[in-house]
């Protein structure tokens, strides 16, 4: 026996015993085996789906069938090459975003697009075609991806890019892992003038004012995001803060490097009763008050600007074992804000427990067939799970369907297939490409079983 064969004999599948896995919302929860290895090729044959750092909220990275094996990519995390001429960085799919930032920020580079947490993998960023505060200026992450090495259903490895196997490439951007295992990703990094962010904060008394300011700000600022209080009753309902930012110029920034902020860890899962609406109502008042105080410009470090929530690791534990969901939708804004108003009214009527509301300005649609953003306004609403949540999501989805919007699969756990089909005319095209590369539907997830009707 060679050592290689011996190694196969020692741990034939590199798989964990069955464990409970969930998304970031801790709902739903499902049993799965996680197969992980530094050499992804050893574990891709077992997995019906790839899973990264599990920062999608719902069931996107969960197995279709209880106990199925998932390919965990997190050990395949090497950086493979970087060309300072073109800025193109190539890395293995499990490479976490935090590693890239830690290594490249001091050298004057930053990823062109980042979601609201740095604890995601490159594979997950491609599979969800993530967007961020820079969507109106930079588009989704996929727009900066120059090539993806994908292992498709029959085991072939295909290098797809905007020039080669474009259909497969487009289906993979935002394809939620259903076209195959992403093994490597190459994308263009962005040069930055300094490692600091110049931030300006403004507050507004209601959502319409916030939305128009958000839109205005997008013309001048590359990064914008708004926070709104959708929990306190009127007149406080809808008050909000607008955060605008850009990279500071060298003369505006301190000459030292920003220190990565210290993060706190929560020791345990809190009990379900811990987080109460009254606490969040008070938090929202304080947050608004603080935003009023810091109004104006200041230089901040990019991590606290882009990843305020990362300051507390495992913050999802405060919701308790019941878990929570994030409902994220985008509503077009060209034809007025009627649907937006209906959405807000409905939230008020239902007294929906929106513990966190983040509003973003979306720019042009990217090339990913199922990629989420389209021109309009995106609402991301965190709500603790209860027996009312399904009803709330159904009601909001009615409004989104009528308003010509859509929901974000990376956050979703509760949308019904009928709703999804009515908001996604693009689905047929995606399923056609998927069937072409994976006729037996080898790749499937709890999400694809729920929304696309795949057999579990």
């Amino acid at each position: 026996m060679t050592t290689e064969e011996l190694r196969q004999a020692t741990s034939p599948q590199w798989c964990s015993p069955p464990v409970l896995v969930a998304g970031w919302g801790r709902f739903p929860v499902c049993e799965a085996r996680l197969c992980a290895n530094e050499d992804l090729g050893l574990v891709t044959p077992h997995g019906s789906l790839s899973r990264g750092l599990g920062r999608s909220y719902g069931d996107a990275a969960l197995p279709a069938k209880r106990g199925d094996a998932l390919t965990s990519t997190v050990l395949a995390d090497r950086l493979l090459s970087f060309d300072p001429e073109t800025g193109i960085l190539r890395a293995e799919a499990g490479c976490p975003l935090w590693r890239i930032i830690e290594l490249f920020l001091p050298r004057g580079w930053f990823p062109p697009v980042t979601p609201g947490t740095k604890f995601v993998t490159l594979g997950g960023m491609v599979a969800a075609d993530v967007h961020g505060k820079m969507h109106h200026s930079q588009g989704t992450f996929g727009q900066h991806v120059t090539s993806v090495l994908l292992e498709v259903a029959d085991g072939r490895r295909i290098e797809c890019s905007p020039e080669h196997e474009t259909e497969l490439f487009d289906a993979t951007l935002g394809g939620m892992g259903l076209t195959g295992h992403i093994l490597e990703v190459a994308f263009r990094m962005q040069r930055i003038p300094s490692p600091w962010i110049l931030e300006e904060v403004e507050t507004f008394p209601n959502v319409p004012a916030l939305l128009s300011a958000l839109h205005q700000a997008g013309q001048h600022w590359p990064f914008t995001v708004a926070w709104a209080d959708l929990l306190n009753p009127p007149p406080l309902f809808g008050r909000g803060a607008l955060m605008k930012g850009r990279w500071a110029l060298p003369h505006e920034a301190p000459s030292r490097l920003p220190q990565p902020p210290k993060s706190m860890k929560l020791p345990a899962v809190f009990p379900n009763w811990f987080l109460q609406p009254w606490m969040i109502r008070w938090f929202n008042r304080v947050y608004f008050y603080r935003a009023q105080r810091v109004r104006g410009r200041r230089v901040v470090d990019p991590e606290s600007f882009f990843y305020p929530l990362d300051a507390v690791l495992d913050w999802n534990r405060v919701y308790g074992p019941r878990g929570f969901t994030q409902y994220q939708c985008v509503l077009p804004a060209e034809q007025g804000l009627e649907a937006h108003q209906r959405l807000l009214d409905r939230l008020l009527e239902l007294q929906a427990p929106v513990f966190l509301a983040v509003i973003k300005d979306c720019g042009q649609e990217g090339r990913g067939i199922l990629s989420f953003p389209r021109p309009g306004i995106s609402y991301a609403l965190d709500m603790p799970l209860s027996n009312r949540t399904q009803q709330i999501v159904d009601d909001l989805n009615d409004i989104v369907v009528k308003g010509g919007g859509r929901i974000y699969l990376a956050k979703d756990a509760l949308t019904r297939p009928e709703h999804f089909r009515s908001m996604e005319p693009r689905l047929e095209r995606f399923l056609t490409v998927r069937r072409k590369w994976d006729p037996t539907l080898r790749f499937r997830s709890a999400l694809s079983a729920r929304l696309f009707g795949d057999d579990p």
Binding site: M1, E38, L75
Partner: protein, 245 residues
């Protein structure tokens, strides 16, 4: 430091090599697959190791390769002062009892050949006036225990060897660092159910680099395992016969 590293491609070795790279130390990699070594070398350069990070083939199953590999490393690094060994094999006691060939291979690799490699490295370090030899043993070598009888025997022997080396050559400038990891989450342990106090490779890496830089002799990683093993070492025999760890 100028470090010759056997086992940087995976697990704790990968994390440790990256931590050394971040702190700007020079590296030369030894391992059994050129393809993996090449990728790890590029990764380490991007982590801050002075380029180029070189590599050479060296398989713990093939002791005849040791001298050549170490010579190549010394030629590339010019005055290497540190040798790190994280390479090793693991298999469960059940697997080893069921497969005599595997058991023989594991004992050979983890004990005899690792020691032969250390001997070759020790000679080279002493020839240039001393240096650091950092080797990963295991808490499994601290006490004969039901789930790690064979693996633990090899690691126990390795620990004893490293202890002797320290006594014998300390005066001549050899600094031996014996690392005793507890349970750490790597692909080596993916099939096992993690006990409480399971460690992460990145944390282990920081602990170990600090130990090397401060010249500590024995390091438990994560450090809590020092306390756990202090208890386990004192448990009476009748208890060890009963419990299953």
């Amino acid at each position: 430091m100028k470090v010759i590293f056997l086992g940087a491609t995976r697990g704790m070795g990968r994390a440790l090599a990256r931590e050394l790279a971040r702190r700007g130390h020079s590296l030369f990699l030894l391992g059994r697959s050129e393809r993996e070594l090449e990728k790890s070398a590029r990764d380490l350069e991007l982590h801050g190791a002075p380029a180029p990070v070189g590599y050479a083939r060296c398989d713990l199953g093939q002791p005849e390769l040791f001298e050549g590999a170490l010579a190549a490393a010394e030629a590339a690094l010019a005055r290497a002062d540190t040798v790190v060994v994280t390479a090793g094999l693991f298999a469960t006691q059940e697997e080893l009892e069921a497969n005599a060939e595997l058991a023989a291979e594991l004992l050979q690799v983890n004990f005899t050949n690792t020691i032969l490699f250390c001997e070759a490295a020790r000679r080279r370090l002493l020839a240039r006036g001393g240096g650091t030899l950092c080797v990963f043993s295991s808490v499994a070598g601290e006490r004969g225990r039901k789930p790690v009888v064979l693996y633990g025997a090899a690691k126990g022997g390795l620990t004893r060897y490293l202890e002797g080396l320290d006594h014998r050559y300390y005066a001549q400038g050899l600094r031996v660092v014996t690392v005793k990891p507890g349970f750490v989450r790597t692909s080596m342990t993916i099939g096992l159910k993690p006990p409480p106090f399971a460690g992460e490779p990145d944390r282990v890496a920081k602990t170990v680099v600090n130990a090397i830089e401060r010249g500590r002799t024995v390091v438990y990683a994560p450090p809590i395992w020092a306390c756990i093993m202090a208890v386990v070492r004192r448990l009476p025999r009748f208890v060890m016969r009963k419990v299953n760890f």
